[in-house]
Each structure stands twice: as C-alpha cells, then as structure tokens.
Symmetry: D2
Subunit: 324 residues, 4 copies
C-alpha cells in the first residue's frame, strides 16, 4: 500500500502551554513553515488550521503551496484559539457566536475549495463544559448539530470531518469518542459528515483505536482523516508518533488497511522542547517503519489468527510481526 | 417523585475475588437472601441474576417472593459465571456456545414473564477481548447482534436491557459505553432494546453519568434499569452507593428526573469485607438522602442555571443544593 | 480551629492555555489583583509567585500589601514560565541554567525575608522529562538536590517547601508524589525542607490526600503549605475547590487537624472561563462550609470509627458528617 | 548478560475471578505444575507462593524440585487468600491475626532456608483499606512495620522482599509504590528489607518502571526480585509479558543492567482464558527477544544519548534499538 504522510503546518513551529508563552525564541512565518516541511523527505502534503494568521495570509499560503509542491490534505477551521468561542462555537448559547462560527467555517470551506481540497475538518475544542450543573447538554448538543446542518447544506459535496477528543481544553467535550460522534452523525442524517480520527485522542479516551476503526467501518461511517501522535494513555501528550507505543500501532495500521483507508496520515504533535521539524521527521520515520512491518506481514495469516480468539496465538503473531 | 429502591438478591450474600474464594464463612440460601433484603426498610423489590443456583431453584424464588412481598424489577441472564462463555456468549465464534447463550436467555425471559416482570437484562461480561490481534471485531459484533435479534423476536413486548461496562472481566468489552451501546441498538433496528445503566460502569469509563442520561434521552433511547454503586473513578470498585461521590450523584438524579425516569434504583455492589445486608442499607440511606436534596431543590432554578453556562453559577447552585 | 484562607495573587487574573493566549480581554495589574483579593470576605493573605512581572515590581507588591492589609503566606520562585528552564531548573544539565535558577531562588528568598514571610516555595514544573531514554534520572536528580543544598544553607531558618505534581508541563516530573518527595528530603539530610501540598496534584496522582497527610506526619515531614483546588481525578483541572469532591475533602480536613496543621489554605486554581475573583470566592465559601462540618463533628467519634476497620461504620459516619 | 527466567508455579495452573470460579475444567497438582514449567525451554527456576496447598505439601514441592532440577528463586508467604486476613495481615488491628501472619511468615522463611533459597517475599494484598474514614493510617502502618521488625530479626541474613501494588484486592494498599515502600524501609532501619518489583504494578500505578529502578538504586535500596507481566496501564491485567508494551520494556531492561541487577526475571501473570503453560512460554520468548535488543545495543551510545536531554535524540535511539 502507498504510504502517504502529511503534517499540520503549525506543527513545525513554536509551542506554548498554560505556563510558558513560547518554548522557542524563534517563531516562523507561514512560508518558513512550508519550507521546513518541504525538507522532510517522507512528507508530501500539509493540513491547514485556519487560525487568524492563516485567514489573513491566504496568498502566502497559496504561494507556499506552489513553491513547495506540497498538496493540501485538509483545511480545518479554528474554533479554539479565539476567546469568543470560550464557551462553545456551534454549541454556544449566544446566537452571535454561533453565527460567527458558521461564517468562519464557510470561509474555511471556501478556501478549501479554492485549493482543490475536498476535506474540511472541525475540531470543536471549546464545545463542552467544565462544571457539573453548568450546561444543558440536550440544548447545546442540538444547537451544535443545527450548525452542522447549515455547513452540510453549504457545500454538499465537501467532506466535513469531525475530530473527537474526550477533554482539553474543556474538562468534558461534546464530540468526545468514536461512537458518540458516529451516533451524532447517524442521527443528524447528514451524508457528507464523517470522522477525523486523532490516534492520541482515541488512545487516551480508553478506546482501542484499532477497534474504533473497525466499528466506524462496520457502521458505514466515513474515515476522512487520520491525525497521528503518541501519548502515555492518560492525556493528549502529543508526542512523536511511535515514541511510546508499538504493537497498538500495528493493530491500528492493520485495521486501517483492512477497512480500505487509503488517505494520508497527518502528523499532529506538540514537540514543546524539541526542534519541531526534526520531531516530525522522527514521526515519519517511525510510521514508515511500522507500516513496513505490516507490508511484510501475511494478511491472510493475520485474518486467520483473529478467528482463533486465543491470546497465545495473538501474542505469537505479534512477535512474528515485530521480529521480522 | 416516588423513590423506589431494589437490590440484586446476591448482593446481600458472600463475595469472592481472584485471590480469596469466599470473604465470609457464612453463605446464604436464596430464601435467606430474600429475608435479609426484606429487613431493609427502604427496599421494595429485587433484581434476579439467573446463575445456575437460581435457574435450578425457581420454586424457592417464587416462594420467597410470595413470602416477602418483594416485587421483581428485572430478571438478568447470567453469561459470565459459566466457563463455557469464557470467550464470549452471543459473540462467541462457536455456534454451540451462542446457541446455549440464546437458550439461557430465553429461559430467563420465560421466567421473567412468569413472574410478571417486563424487563429482561443482559450484561455480556465475557463478550470482548483481552489481547490485540485476538479478535475480528466486526465479525464478533455482528454475531452478537444476530443473537439479540433472535431474543427480540422471541418476546417482542419484553424490554431487553443491555448493561454496558468498559472492562472486566475482559480487558476490553464490546458493550462498553452509553453511546457505543446506543449506536448498536440504533443500527440493529430492534424496538425493544434499551439500556441498563450501571452508574459505576459509566463513571469509571470516563463518562459523566448525568450527561450520558441526557444523551440517551435526546436520542430516544430507553432507560430500562439503573444499577447503583460507587467507585474511585478508575475501576468498578462496586462500593456502597454514596460513599465516595456526592455532587455527581446530584446531577445524575437531576437528569434522571428531567428525562422522566420513574423506575427503580437497583443497588448492585460488592461489599467483600462488610456485612452485605448492612452495606445495602447504607446505600439506600445515602440515596434517599441525596434524592431528598433534589426533592427540595427548585427545578426551575436549576434549569435556569444551566442556561447561564457559567462555572461560578454552577458552583453556587451546588453549594445551595448540598447546604440545605 | 481558626480557618485561614489565602490565594495566589495571579489566580484572580486572566488565564491562557496551549490553544488560547488569553481567555479574558481584560488583564489586571498587580495592584488591581490585590484589590480584587481584598474584596473577598474570607481571604486574609496572599501567596506570591515571583514571575518576571513580580520580580520587576517589588515596590508595587509592597505598597499593595500595605494598602490592603493582606498578609503574605508564602513566596514562590517561578521556574516554569521562562523558557530558559524548559529542560529543567535545578536538574538542568547546563551549569548556567542551574546557576540562574539558584540565583532566582535566592532573590525570592530575600524578598520573602524582606516581607517577613518565613516560607519559600518551589514548584519545579520543568524538572522532569517527556520521552523514555531522554534522561539520566540519577544524574539529574542528584543535580536537583545539590541545588537544594545551596538554598538550604543560604537561609537555614527559612522553610523551603517543595510542591510535588506527577506531570504537566513535563510528561513525568521528578518531584511527583508525597512519598517520593519525602524520601528525597530524608536522604538530603536538609532540616529546613518540607512539603507544599497541592490537593489536586495529590488527588490526580492516585494518592488519597488524607492518607498522604497522615504519612507525612508519621515520618516527621513538615507540611509547610496547602494549595487547594479540585479536579475529576485524571488531570490537574484546577477547578473551584469543592466543586467536584465532597467526602474526600472531609477526610483531608480531618487529617490536617489531627496532625496539627494550623497554617493557611491557599486557593490555587485556573478559572479559564469564569470571573476569576468570583471563582476564588466560591472556593472560600465551599471550604468554609466543609470545615464547618468538621468543626461540628465529634473528633472522638471519628477516631473511634477508625479503629473499627469497617466500611459500613465508615459510611454511616460520613452520612452523619454531611447530613448535619 | 546472562538471561535468567523463573515463574510462580501457580501461574501454569487454572485461574478464577470474582465472577467465574474456574476458567478451566482441569486443575493441576503441584507435581504437574512443576512438569509443565520444566517443559518451557527458557525457564530454569520457580517462585513459590505458600498458599495452604503448598504449606500442606512441602514434600511434594521438594520432590518436584529434585525431579525437575528447577531452582527456587524466592518463597513468598500468602497473606491474601485466607479470609482471616481480609482486613489486613501485619497491619490488622487484631493481635491474633497479626500473630498468625507472623507465624505463617516464619514458616515460609524456614521453608525457604530449607530449600537453600535466600529470598523471602511478602505481597500484603489485604493490607490497606477500601473506604475513607475506615482506617487510622498511622496506627495500621505502624503495626505493619512492627511485624516486619520481628521477621527481620528472625532471620537477619535472609532477604525480605516487599512487593508493592497500588490497589487490588483493596481499593488502596499501604505498600503501594516504589518510593512509598523505600521510605518505609528507610524509616524502619531494617537492613535485610528490600523490594520485589512487579513491572505491571509499577506501570499501572503511573510510575515509569525504568525510573523506579533508577530511584531504588540511587537511594541504596535492594532490588530482590522482579515480577514480570504486562497491562494496558490502568489495572493489573496480568497479561503475557511483552504483549502490550515494547519500548518501556527496553528502557526498563537498560536500567536493570545499568544498576547491576543480575537476578531472575519471574513471570507472574493470569492467563484466565489461555493455555497457561503456553502463555508463560510466550512471555519468555518475548522477554528473551527484548533482552537481545539490549544485548545488541551500544551501552555507551545509550548513556551518551541520556546526556543530551533531547526528545528527538531519544526517539532516534529507540528506533535504532528496535529496528535492529
């Protein structure tokens, strides 16, 4: 299978957290970020998160794409960075805020179309709540879906990918798990909605990401994007992909292939203290290696092992996969 | 609102774990368990888990019900205790095992009907997997639903309640979360399927149980039973209900009432080292107290607070609820 | 027992996270923060975190203290916000960085002395690591203690309080748990070292904070400061103190009193989306209420219950405490 | 380095949990268990857990050792299976129970001596508590250490290894973490006390096991035994060693070697549904493979990488280790 890797442009930049406002003195322009990405051998595309900087500099984005020859895998709206969305974007109780969120979404969709990109992504990080007795869950979730309907109708032929995450920045997110998101999509009746799956979000939510891919496929859901990183299982540590987990990645890759995913793997990580371009390069090298292990595997043998329902056989198979 | 409490009959018995085969020297007959339950002032019904002991002694069960005047809230099949189900019941790859599971289910449904009980419950504890690369998730989940279809058709007017739990005894369960279970039900198209919600299972899965109730109601799911206990958030500790959490229970009770739940609260706990009858009594006293706090609350004031989307207002409301 | 509440001055300010650089448009001067704190009836002291803003404006701090009459409970050095410490402060492999950290500490200790404050606090948020095979744990921990020795000798009569936290901003912190920190202190042989215990850090690390206080007392450790907030058990959510947990706080307060703690309770929370002054007020009201429950309790009855080693008795006691 | 593997004899037997009293129909005699172990090529020793079955059949144990030629790595007392210890063994408030625990320990120590085994192990699974306000932590911990003093004096030349675990069967254990146990040992002043480290217990407690080994070494603690298994990070799943984690094992092995551990690796797992002998064989094959990766590594290169304090370098090193 062709291996295709992409990265969010900002993830070769500089990072901050709630304590330190910039871990690196150097900050990069959009053009510089593209050049840094271009220098990573295994990366052939980018994903764009339309923060204010990008929305205000679309020409620089277009020029950078042309110069580097990188493709655009997806365009994501940003509904997290601006404090206007602090109590929600599409689920906000404030009509003006929802209106602004929908407008921002439409602009991002327009730009995606302009770039020839068919996937628009939403990660509604602020849509959720922090305290008990703080939110009317039914009301806010209904408002959220109402906005999605408007977006769906705006460009019926564009993929709209929802990225789920159990928490952060909110203590509890509305779009939180694979099945919760699939259920919402199913109930919405909107055909062009699907999933942007962040491996780390899935993993630290307690899901087995491989099984989540199987469930998505089983129920006819659309896997529109994969965001890749790694963590220790209790938080979105956003580490170099492959730096913690090994076998869970192999099962994940197996199910991606078995269910026919043939899109990009997009690296999406926060190397606060590392050289960020080099950290993306590491992720690509790890993933390329792990994919090669599945390339070399006998897919029939795997399928046959799965019908034994036996832990010893599963262990033996995994040893074989990794010892090659 | 009327407060109605029930308990699984075995939960006034003796408990074991993987290390100790009986924490109490004394073991109780079915009749003795009923008498112990009858002695708890706030309990007016029982739930029955049809392990071999119960299946073999249906007359003793009926006589005990008559003698004590306790009602039957639900009848649950047991698909966990018998080692035949160790690699799954309805999802087993072995046709003979699935057949046996369906037969056991039908017998339990027959018994429920005989007792005038309209709710049949399933907690498929062994349906899941332990190791990666051990299971074909799509195949096993499909087999599971196929069996449910047979049960649904067997008694179309009986409630079939699925109890979800993220793990234990399997490292990963197929029926694992509220939304995962609702999605499965939705996709099955079976009208008489619904949810048996165990508060502790929901809580240690990372769900906010109150929000899970709201989601269930929003999507037209049926809440057929509530199992109550408490834990520290990372495991199914099955402690006395109310002995750990306070405010989360209040929000849970609020959403139960707001969404119109008017069934029993069934205590379902494992007091390994405690006098088990007294432990159930404690749960009933805790829950009765916590429900009284919501009885005394101004439901309009709560609803209004939920529209403020403000943590300080939520905190103030919670203080008011508990300081009464 | 006298109830004494304090707050870190910055916690009535404005907050950010890794996505949003300021959740509120308004930012407050040091003087304004003092005035906001002064307006909270139950607060009588402040704790100071010596970020650059404070280090550069010591006169404003002193003037504000004089104007408001607020006391100073502790002075904390800041070794997290400046990117120079991104790979550690006292444990940095770079001599120049350690030197800077020690100098900053000494300046903060000087300022504490000038303010008549006897407690200097250290929360070494950057001292730890993110990746496996990234750090020589023995070497870095040795360097850390070497710096503490220098501080200890600099002001032998000043309390030096170490604040532990299992993770964040590092994926793994060196000063991570009560027993890990006590062991380090014990082995250092330094008499003026003790603990600044953040309830939330302890709680989300998996410790029972009440038991941690007992262990500290049992081993002759010094409890020099208490930082108070609340969370859901898996992360440092830094919520309003009392907004999630109830019974765990009561056991914590009981053990604080039994082991003779008579210092301040300092609120230390991140109300990203709330009016921050009001959020501190809520914490104070919650804690005042919870402390009143222990004020009204019969301490002998509690002590007697603890000798029964029985969950039912414990449950009954907790109901009695809270239903008063 | 010589690779030496052992296994607890019962871990090639039959398993139960709180729901199912025997996952396999077949149960094995002590002699049969030894024969099963003997059939595993990489295993050369056993560890003995002195449950009643073993205490009553010491001759069978001795005969089996002679017949198979297997060595004895450690003898462990059993203070978990007998319900007399349900509220604690050495920490029990009941003098008679503590007396019995000490007697059982001495008998196990005598047997160890008779077998020429110098390591006696204690896993005090029942010493802890379930509910808040259930235990006087200081009193019970003091009683626990008092019993250890008696054991230490009984055989001053025998290693006494304490095995820590954060929870299960108690919701909270007294001997819970590496640093908590080291602190207790340090404060006890007993020279022949050390640590039996169970990798899985360490891992699911939130510790980095590799760092825990470094800390133990740094503070002069004695690593007397290693128990090996695997889990998903939130519970003691006791799976085949190597079936989940890969890179964390490599760092663990590195630190074992660097700190001079040269004892056995003992497999200690609960393959409920698997052929248990085969599951141990899998663990041995996994571990043998993982140790070979470190055998082939350049130890100087690793040590040098650790002084770079750089995540990209750490990632690169890990790729190199595993891709060999």
């Amino acid at each position: 299978m062709e291996r295709k890797y992409s990265v969010f442009t900002d993830h070769v930049g500089t990072f901050c957290d709630r304590y330190c406002n910039a871990y690196s003195e150097k900050s990069y322009t959009i053009s510089e970020k593209f050049d840094r990405i271009k220098s990573i051998p295994l990366i052939s595309a980018v994903d764009l998160n339309m923060t204010k900087d990008y929305a205000d500099n679309k020409d620089e984005v277009k020029e950078s794409l042309k110069r580097t020859g990188l493709k655009v895998n997806s365009v994501m709206m940003d509904s997290t960075a601006d404090r206007i969305f602090r109590q929600g974007s599409f689920s906000s109780l404030d009509f003006a805020v929802r209106k602004r969120a929908v407008e921002d979404a439409k602009k991002a969709m327009d730009f995606a179309e302009e770039l020839g990109c068919s996937t628009f992504a939403v990660w509604p990080g602020q849509d959720g709540y922090d305290y008990m007795f703080e939110a009317d869950y039914i009301k806010e979730r209904t408002l959220f879906v109402d906005c999605l309907k408007e977006l769906s109708a705006y460009k019926p032929n564009m993929n709209i990918a929802l990225e789920y995450k159990p928490k952060e920045p909110r203590n509890k997110s509305y779009i939180d798990t694979m099945t919760g998101t699939l259920l919402m999509i199913e109930k919405s009746g909107l055909d062009n909605l699907g999933i942007a799956m962040d491996y780390g979000h899935s993993f630290f939510s307690g899901e087995n990401p491989a099984e989540a891919v199987a469930i998505l496929s089983m129920y006819g859901g659309k896997l529109m994007a994969i965001h890749m990183n790694d963590n220790y299982g209790s938080w979105d540590d956003d580490m170099i992909a492959g730096s913690v987990n090994t076998l869970p990645y192999l099962e994940f890759i197996y199910w991606l292939r078995r269910t026919g995913y043939n899109g990009y793997i997009t690296f999406d990580q926060f190397p606060y203290r590392e050289e960020s371009r080099d950290a993306v390069n590491e992720s690509a090298l790890w993933f390329d290696y792990l994919e090669s292990l599945i390339d070399n595997a006998d897919m029939d043998e795997i399928a046959e092992t799965l019908t034994k329902k036996d832990g010893v056989s599963a262990s033996r198979l995994m040893r074989k996969l990794i010892m090659k």
